[in-house]
Amino acid sequence: MSTQALFGQLLIGLINGSFYALLSLGLAVIFGLLNVINFAHGAQYMMGAFAAYLLLDSAGLGYWWALVLAPIIVGAIGIVIATLMLSRLYKLDHLYGLLLTFGLALIIEGIFHHKYGSAGLPYSMPESLTGVRNLGFMYLPNYRAWVIVASLAICLGTWFLIERTKLGAYLRAATENPALVQAFGVNVPRMITLTYGFGVGLAALAGVFAAPIYQVSPQMGSTLIIVVFAVVVIGGMGSIMGSIVTGFGLGIIEGLTKYFYPEASSTVIFVIMAIVLLIRPQGLFGQR
């Protein structure tokens, strides 16, 4: 095996890592405020990819439009779901939120499966990002570099928004004590709903990023979401930066495993989860 292959796998690892980071970030923000583990996150990631495909197919709107519109469309659908259904469950046991969103994931995937079958649909990457850069030790496809840089920027932007702005301060306060924040005159229910829309939008954005790399198919989200759950268990949902670091880190480890011991590449994250449960059950960044 060559260093070329090693860096190739590392690159794929980084790309998957950016999807893990974007998705676990959304899960953590949603869980913090809604007390709901959003099982439909994978389905919403898939909807993002399909939105990109459909925008191009039926409206002729290309990749850059999709990057803006798909998260808004899917996020809006998320807001409808939060208003109509999730809002009834905030006071119940967390398990009900998980079960409800699992049901929603089945419905969404079933509908897309019914309409588009299980074969993947191709989605071509934008003209401006085709081509390959020669870095000397490896060839770097421009699109992949773009996905990594853009995801990292979005992740850090989200971190800044939540940890360093006034809006983020409200958000963190509402996570700690919603009743008190409401008493200070902040419209907490609306903030909760918008937060769900934002988390879902992040998932949809990851879906648009993924569309040109992986084919667009109804089941693309369900396998991913289970891995992301393991990522969340490993990192713990306590910190935003923790989600980002864990997501990218596990992507890289997975990529390296693909190079050195490919047989274990699909299970390595679960093995790491088992080890973390043994030595630090609350997760790397979780609080007791």
């Binding site: 119940l92 046991d93 967390h94 009900y96 047989e263 449960l277």
Partner: protein, 329 residues
């Protein structure tokens, strides 16, 4: 992360406790269940009736954990599927008789339950569900790659030996009544566990774990024991299913199977004794009769999930019990 519990985990009814009434209610339902299952192979295909009983046992095993221990496992397919694979392997390759093959399935799931349970009970609530789901996915990937499972083809043409060397199980009715006996034995075992002092402690942990700890119970041991028992019974159900349909495949160990058993228990009524049986009958019949609709089955299942969570959290048997209690008062 200690979250305030505003509503305890999926639970049975807390209304007035009347042991005599409860006993009569459960006895009557048990008689109805036994009589209808005895008659079942004369009313529908025995092959279909056998599958119903396998899934009913699976759902009862799952309910032991969620309904009475308050632990939501989203990975029970790993026990069902591995039980199914190992029973098929034992019967086909190692030449085990049918009783031993099914027990091999249960034993495999028991061992797997100890290993995954020890890790999973280190987290609570929502994390417990995610951890079990992740382990189940790991087992699924193992089954995809392991040579003995036959990959996409699964293990086919599993033989059925004569029961105790005497009874010819190629007769559908004979096989059905074997499945019936195993199901009733499993059901009664679960019933016994629920109503034992062990079961009472389990319920106490479900309602308020810190309080159970303060009373001196080593709660993690109780949770592990419940997890392992539930896993072993799920493995028995899987092994029995492999004998009934004569194959074991990746479907049995896929995450969708974990979701299905959750759905069965939710529809029938979490934490009720007979709910999982009713739920299994409803969900498996629905799959059977809607099979030609293809992906609509998934959509309908998802819709049932949503409706149950939003408006029907007690499930069929929970609602029935509540209605009977109301009428009585």
């Amino acid at each position: 992360m200690a979250q305030p519990h505003t509503d305890a985990a999926p639970q049975a009814l807390h209304a007035s406790h009347d042991p005599a009434w409860e006993w009569r209610y459960e006895r009557n339902l048990f008689v109805i269940m036994v009589v209808s299952f005895l008659a079942l192979p004369y009313l529908i295909y025995p092959a279909f009736a056998m599958q119903l009983l396998c899934f009913a046992l699976f759902a009862c095993a799952f309910n032991l954990l969620i309904g009475f221990g308050g632990l939501l496992s989203f990975g029970h397919a790993m026990f069902f599927g591995m039980g199914s694979y190992l029973a098929a392997q034992a019967a086909l390759v190692w030449g085990f008789p049918i009783e031993a093959a099914m027990l091999t399935g249960a034993g495999t799931a028991l061992v797997l339950g100890v290993v995954t349970g020890l890790l999973a009970i280190r987290r609570q609530g929502i994390y417990f569900a995610m951890v079990t789901l992740a382990f189940a996915q790991m087992v699924y990937f193992f089954c995809v790659r392991a040579p003995f499972t036959g990959g996409e083809n699964g293990i086919q043409a599993v033989p059925r030996s004569k029961l105790l060397g005497v009874v010819d199980l190629e007769q559908p009715l004979a096989m059905y009544y074997l499945v019936f006996v195993v199901f009733i034995a499993g059901f009664l075992l679960i019933y016994r566990i629920i109503h034992s002092p062990f079961g009472q402690v389990l319920k106490a942990i479900r309602e308020n774990e810190p309080r159970a700890v303060s009373l001196g119970y080593r709660t993690e041991r109780y949770k592990l024991a419940a997890f392992v028992l539930s896993a072993a019974l799920a493995g028995l159900a899987g092994g029995m299913k492999a004998m009934v349909v004569r194959n074991a495949s990746l479907t049995d160990v896929y995450w969708a199977m974990s979701g299905e058993v959750v759905l069965m228990t939710l529809v029938g009524g979490m934490g009720t004794v007979f709910g999982p049986v009713v739920g299994a009958i409803i969900i498996i019949s629905m799959q059977f009769y809607l099979a030609e609709l293809g992906s609509w089955v998934t959509i309908v299942q998802g819709a049932i999930f949503v409706v149950c969570v939003l408006a029907f959290r007690r499930g069929v048997m929970g609602e029935l019990e509540a209605w009977l209690r109301r009428r009585r008062n």
